[in-house]
Symmetry: C2
Subunit: 212 residues, 2 copies
């Protein structure tokens, strides 16, 4: 599902300009589960117009750049309904925060506390905003909005109840993983353990030296 399709769906909710579509992603209906930037929205709208899935009529304003208002065509509506039937990509969650927490032992307790405070606040605000009245009044919109509210609330709760666990290890001793090689040492498949052991042996001294 590319930005082109996303824009088509956005216009299905009502006519809009590129600027307004961008706001739906930034702070509107889509903001808590989708992203799209001007860099992909404007080209997408151009292409959609070429393909006659949307139409564009300019509205000149006194002293501002012309406002280009886009509307879906019937062909566009059909194409969107089609797109809705294709298999969906998996939900994706990306968090640099969790990544950094993995390396808590490399940070000061202050830094860790600050990062968690920040993150709790982020989730709290999102949860609050999504608990408020719906921007769009459909049951479907409420459903997705409340989903966000619940998930962010769960995040806040987890962080508040468990933050002491990471805060305790700041600046402490190195990771202490049982296996130095990360993914469960797959190596040779059915080959005998001793063989793979000896293979990793001539790598061990280096590692031990580097662990400091």
């Amino acid at each position: 599902m590319d930005v082109r399709t996303l824009c088509l769906g956005a216009l299905t909710l009502g006519d809009a300009t590129g600027y307004e579509i961008r706001k739906m992603f930034e702070e509107g209906v889509f903001s808590h589960f989708l992203e799209a930037s001007y860099g992909s929205i404007y080209p997408a709208l151009t292409r959609l117009t070429e393909e006659e899935l949307v139409t564009c009529h300019s509205e000149q304003q006194e002293k501002r750049p012309d406002k280009k208002i886009y509307s879906v065509t019937d062909k566009g509506r059909a194409a969107f309904t089609e797109a809705l039937l294709e298999p969906l990509a998996e939900d994706k969650f990306r968090s640099e925060f969790l990544f950094v927490m993995l390396f808590a032992h490399l940070l000061t307790p202050e830094r860790i506390k600050a990062l968690i405070d920040e993150k709790v606040e982020e989730h709290r605000q999102l949860s609050e905003r999504l608990s408020g009245p719906a921007e769009i009044g459909t049951p479907a919109a409420d459903f997705i909005k409340d989903f966000g509210a619940v998930v962010h609330k769960a995040s806040v709760d987890y962080l508040e109840k468990n933050r002491h666990k990471v805060e305790a290890i700041a600046g402490a001793s190195p990771p202490r993983a049982s296996e130095p090689r990360a993914p469960e040492a797959p190596q040779d498949g059915n080959a005998a353990r001793p063989a793979s052991q000896s293979k990793s042996d001539h790598r061990n001294p280096k590692e031990l030296a580097r662990i400091r």
Copy 2:
């Protein structure tokens, strides 16, 4: 935080090949909050080697392509610790599922049920996997793992308790948004309502025709 830095961090957990790093993202430690593909991992490792943040020693295997094992240098460790101090990007959640749910009125009840079943199962499996024993035994790793487990559990619970709300509206009447123009009609700032109203007037007939 680019893939280059992510790889550096991965190697901080232990020496690894590009293939093994990829697995950390696909099914390993990072899998529930980060993604990275071969297309960015291999170039990243090349660049890291050029910059002397990691070293690479080839290990030739009898009948397979040479395994290139990467290790962080002291310079690399320092660079990574530095990178950890930079401001973090916000957490990001992307869900085509929620997007499609917004358009439940365009789908059959069967399709909606199937999609939710699928999504519940997805979250259930992730939650279960993350509730299991830790792949890496550090408190920090447990902290981030449990975070994932809790969030996915909350998702499952929400979907199961509220799915009837979306399932009820399948195939029903159009969206029925109070405002056709999506983002709360920002228009002219303090300009008088009547003006903006008249502006949208010559767009209304079209809209009414298209709503069908």
